[in-house]
Symmetry: C2
Subunit: 766 residues, 2 copies
């Protein structure tokens, strides 16, 4: 059936032909353009703001400053609401601010009849600032006498946890580290990067009456967006309607509510006029969200035989000027590790700190890439200290099916990491390459080669931190095809396609008979909080299944009424109701009768809203070969392979695409991408795609993906997470390979020529 087939994307034709419409492709007559007046400094207070020249410009409808907005603090993180007030997001934003906290902060907004006029008006708004001292690192922000960015101080939150395998005789990680045969340690730094989704942030809003606001937005999270706008404007949530057209990528930057409260505020103030706010790439990189830079120190204890006994990590997470997802990132990054090495004790401490930098938020991996980078560096170091093959060291320590996660005490039902490592080692030709590389490097010369491996564990959704609710509705058309509505959002990852596969599978119809309604609309769409935490295929599946089973039951009941058969004897195969081998009626015939028979039947539909209370970990690893040009200080990936245990694959081709994307993003994070900030002024230096180096196709090696399919019993169709995982292990694997190639241990990324030069110089290679 449809599940497990590499069917083509349901949105493929619309996207490759350019017929798909994104938020920027939509308009309304009379639409106005809004533009922010942004702070040119990273920290200060507005001492004077004069909008008169801007207001005098023909075509300008309005200028609002920080003095005109509601005095309401609201959060922006795309988390589901929490019934416990202690678990809600930090509310530290206002719509516009007079206390600017980063280079790009928003002090005013201009509304004009067109984009050009709005840009001109922005330049006519006069603002004077009193500059305040700038802090750019957690260390500086926590230092005595540091400027206070928010009333509560600069420490957003910190926490610590420790756990040990059930029944361990010694469970204190520090004690175990002290007892270990070999202890390795290090300090690691990961950079600020930006998501660089194809489609910039864009949203518009309008009103159709005096009460409710409609927002059309490129968002991953329409239902959460609705709630946050309600909070920001202090209106009931139901007064906000959010519509999500096609979205050109998000990677977490659209899991924050960035523009929507402002466009809602503007239409509200302007009598319901449609107002659009579309960021430039430069604004998007400066003033939406970034990935948190982490500073991590870590220790790992291991026995002489290679049994990892304890791991201890301490992380500082740089939040930038506002909380956004806050400490959740660091917290999640730590909490996802114990399922990888469940026989080791694990200790994790983390602090998230405000600084005068662009605001960090959710980004693919959500803290795990940073934490796993440190962890894999430590494991590599241990292998080298022990003289052990790094794959072997991992195989000796990763969890086995049926083992218990020492942190949450849950049994890990599917645990395919050992098989991933073995499959990858064989497929990548680890031994063969080892020999070839050793020979190559022994021959000397400027080009050195090396091998690296890294592995990870991740989660599938957010339960039990937050609620996991998915919703789906199916209605049958006259011709026997169905409409599938899901609350889960297609943002480019292919979710609409796998939901269509699930529906087709349960209903017994071809894929071509499923029309997915790709636009979510909070007025209509079954509730689902949205695209994040690699959750949708897993958490929405039971709802799709439930809705399809309900529809199938109604189909069979109506077919039974038509034919006089017992519904229990009927089935649907290839869009035909059958009784054993006897074809009774096509679904078109059943549907037509249900619609148009005068006395029996009704429209056939099914709907299901379903909470998931499981969160199985998924696993995987990266194998990589790099070539390092030592004199030029350039590292190049020669070959890279990811192997994943993501449970049963719904669509292998789409799964492969996810892995390719994650590999590419991982290569960029490892080697070239970084938002550069002037450490004195806090000014961002490269918020554009010329100076910020996303790898191009010329920088990419051939990307390879393999899968170890386990059958996860808590999953409706056996699947586990795959959206974020492909990004988790490439960077540490590349770093380990550079060490292997050069003998130089580089504990920071991106490993740009500048960074490698510093390390190679220190190591005496240059």
């Amino acid at each position: 059936m449809a599940i497990g087939d590499s069917v083509r994307r349901v949105d493929g034709p619309s996207k490759v032909t350019g017929r798909a419409r994104y938020t920027g492709d939509l308009t309304l007559p009379g639409m106005r353009w809004a533009k922010y007046v942004r702070s040119p400094i990273a920290h200060g207070r507005v001492t004077r703001i004069d909008t008169s020249k801007a207001l005098a410009l023909p075509g300008v409808d309005a200028v609002f400053t920080f003095q005109d907005v509601p005095d309401v603090l609201f959060p922006t993180a795309g988390h589901p609401w929490h019934l416990d007030p202690g678990h809600r997001d930090v509310a530290d934003r206002v719509l516009l601010t007079g206390h600017v906290r980063y280079h790009g902060d928003e002090v005013a907004v201009v509304v004009a009849r067109d984009e050009l006029t709005a840009e001109q008006a922005v330049r006519l708004v006069e603002v004077d600032y009193e500059e305040l001292p700038v802090v750019t690192t957690p260390q500086a922000a926590l230092a005595e006498g540091a400027p206070k960015l928010h009333p509560g101080g600069n420490l957003l939150k910190s926490h610590r946890f420790a756990c040990a395998p059930p029944g361990a005789s010694v469970s204190d990680p520090q004690e175990l580290l002290a007892q270990a045969d070999v202890t390795v340690s290090g300090s690691y730094h990961t950079p600020i990067v930006q998501h660089c989704h194809l489609e910039n942030h864009v949203a518009y809003a309008y009103m159709e009456d005096d009460k409710r606001i409609t927002i059309v937005s490129s968002t991953q999270i329409p239902h959460i967006c609705r709630r946050v706008v309600g909070q920001a404007l202090s209106i009931p949530w139901s007064r906000v309607r959010v519509v999500k057209p096609c979205v050109g990528g998000g990677f977490g930057a659209k899991q924050d509510v960035v523009l929507e409260p402002m466009v809602a505020f503007l239409t509200w103030k302007l009598g319901g006029l449609p107002v659009k706010l579309e960021l430039t790439r430069e604004e998007c990189m400066l003033a939406t969200r970034t990935r948190h830079a982490f500073d991590i120190t870590g220790k790992l204890g291991v026995t002489r035989e290679g049994r990892i006994t304890a791991i201890s990590l301490e992380a500082f997470s740089n939040s930038g000027a506002y909380a956004s997802h806050g400490h959740s990132i660091a917290s999640a990054g730590g909490a996802k590790c114990p399922s990888l090495y469940p026989r080791a004790a694990f200790e994790f401490a983390a602090s998230t700190v405000y600084t005068n930098l662009p605001v960090a938020g959710a980004m693919r991996g959500y803290g795990s890439p940073q934490v796993h980078f440190a962890l894999d560096c430590l494991v590599e170091q241990a292998a080298r200290e022990l003289g052990m093959d790094p794959v072997e060291l991992r195989l000796a320590n990763v969890g086995l099916p049926g083992e218990t996660n020492p942190l949450n005490k849950r049994v890990i039902t599917t645990h395919g990491i050992s098989e991933c490592l073995r499959t990858g080692r064989d497929a990548f030709g680890w031994e063969r390459r080892r020999a070839a590389i050793d020979a190559h490097n022994a021959a000397g010369g400027p080009l050195r080669r090396g091998l690296g491996v890294a592995n990870f564990s991740f989660n599938t959704g957010v339960y039990p931190v937050s609620t996991e609710l998915g919703g789906a509705r199916l209605i049958m058309n006259q011709d026997g095809t169905v409409q599938l509505m899901v609350g889960a959002t297609e943002i480019g990852q292919g979710s609409d396609t796998v939901f269509a596969q699930m529906a087709a599978h349960v209903l017994g119809i071809p894929m071509s008979h499923v029309n997915v309604v790709s636009t979510q609309d909070t007025d209509l769409t079954p509730f689902d909080p949205g695209a994040y935490a690699s959750r949708q295929t897993f958490t929405c599946a039971p709802a799709v299944k439930g809705a399809a089973e309900q529809l199938r039951e109604r189909i069979l009941a109506h077919a039974a009424a038509m034919t006089g058969r017992d519904a229990a004897t009927l089935d649907v195969r290839d869009a035909v109701v059958v009784c054993g081998d006897e074809a009774l009626a096509s679904l078109e015939e059943v549907s037509m009768d249900a619609f148009y028979h005068k006395d029996r039947g009704a429209q056939l539909f099914g709907e299901c809203s379903h909470k998931v209370t499981a969160n199985p970990p998924s696993f995987g690893c990266t194998f990589v070969e790099v070539e390092v040009d030592v004199p030029l200080c350039r590292a190049r990936v020669v070959d890279i392979l990811n192997v994943h245990d993501a449970g049963v694959l719904m669509n292998p081709k789409l799964a492969e695409g996810q892995v390719h994307g994650g590999l590419a993003m991982g290569v960029g994070w490892a080697l070239s991408e970084e938002i550069l900030v002037d450490q004195r002024s806090g000014k961002v230096l490269n918020n554009n795609l010329l100076d910020y180096k996303v790898p191009t196709c010329l920088d990419m090696p051939e990307l390879s993906a393999l899968f170890v399919q386990t059958q996860e019993p808590s999953s409706a169709f056996g699947s586990k997470s795959l959206g974020e995982p492909p990004l988790l292990s490439p960077a540490p694997a590349i770093r380990n390979a550079v060490w292997d190639a050069t003998g130089v241990r580089v504990d920071e990324i991106p490993m740009t020529p500048k960074v490698l030069f510093k390390h190679f110089k220190a190591a005496g290679l240059l």
Copy 2:
């Protein structure tokens, strides 16, 4: 509770502030404009068509002629599909034609970047015609040697039925007429009129992939429109999506599929480009739909004591150039009479005939106004012959509760016409006015006064002629408010408001907690064929009720899970879950828990699709006083009152508004409105609102409405039809009053000065 209250319209603020968006208010970037090239003659064949000059005009994208469209005949009538092929609508249209059959017929279509360019290009299309003989009346069209408009000839269809009260000793109407003490007869003519809805016909279409077409249209019948477009383009119905925004009136003209197949064809041919087609008022009046002109001859037999024994009517219905709703109009007009006088035998024969006139289709009343006009003229004549008060004659003959409709043999459970007549007679001051008028007229002078009465029966929906299916879905928002989706279409009549009342009533919440989703979208909306046959309040009510009951049950079940109570002991009052007098939780609290509790609950919703298999008749009457200026040949309505048995009123203020609208339309039909056609050429002379006389507010008397509320047991909330009925009796009542005032029997409408002059002259008054 909410039902029965005159709550304010849910769409009031949006419409009075101008924030509501209609199809013409919507656009897409790159939208193209289409314009038809119309025939300047009423009958002929295109002998040459040259589009080269139009195509050469800068800004013109394409010109399609009748040679470029699919060779597919399709119907346009807004009827639900029928499983029996014999009951389907006549398919006699192509998208464009080379055989033009009326003045305004469509031979080509131009698509350009803007409206002005499209209009210029239309003028550049060169067309030569071979003119053919023109027929404008059924008589001429059926005459020997008449030009054949369609391959099957000019008689579209004819039928005859007769019925008599159960157990009648003589059941043949003709025999009863021959035996009657008094027999009256006459020949009656009603005019072609046009709906003149505020919003002209407008639609646009676009594609978002290579497969499916989206149409946004001002339509009463999105789901039927979807089907007809599928037929016209020979594609599966599910490939068509129809979206209905706010609609500015339809009155039946938008119960035809007029523009949608063309915009769908154009976007299909133009690579999915959005293409809009917006008719001018002149095009709307010429080339959409009109009300059929009827020629009716009739006989009525009555005993000396005033018992009507038999009625016989023969009608010729002028369909114009195409079938549209075809013979259904005449058929429905006849079939709705027997429930009014169930103790009389009734005979009805009708023929519907093609002519070279604008196309007639559905219009408020759907054949009943024409047939009731003839019937009420005959009853008036009988009263005069018998010297009996016309109200008394009616009271002696109208049905009583529990009597059986002789045609369909169904018991008429609610039959409030006697009470309507008595209530109206008293409220109107029939006796008092009689005396005053007699005195006035006796005093002589040019201004004569008269009284008139007329009455009617109607249906509520179309069962069992076609299926009656309604659908509704409710989803609860976090704040305890609900979204209500219905397939039934708000087109100005107030249906969204009464559905909100029903939902609020069943759920136990205030009206302000119900948000009605007013846009229907065939991809999403529960199925309902649409706004026609005065059906929606009746046929959609069980679906709204069913969805609300399901939601209420889920609310109580979740509240029970939260509180540990037995759900059977719980109720919802004023948006609070109560147990007896104890308030347990607000709906907001219940909904928040259902959404966000991590382990229990889900989104709360309810959906119901429901077939109605009843069709109770509604009844009513008009009382009117007119003043006729005999020398000026002008009749003026002094006072007019409608009294209705529409079952239980959902919203008395909205009901009153429906009656006011119907009265106004009835006054226009009686006195001033007529599409004038040059009988020789078939050319329409007054397709504009200067020359076609819709009554203005200055022409209107004070309009009054009263109601006799019966409790219809087959109705979910006791209601019966009220959309069309107010139009049925004003015109014959006015005609009867003119007779009363002047002694001149006028058997045709509109009674314009020109018509009255002819009759007054013949009668010797002038």
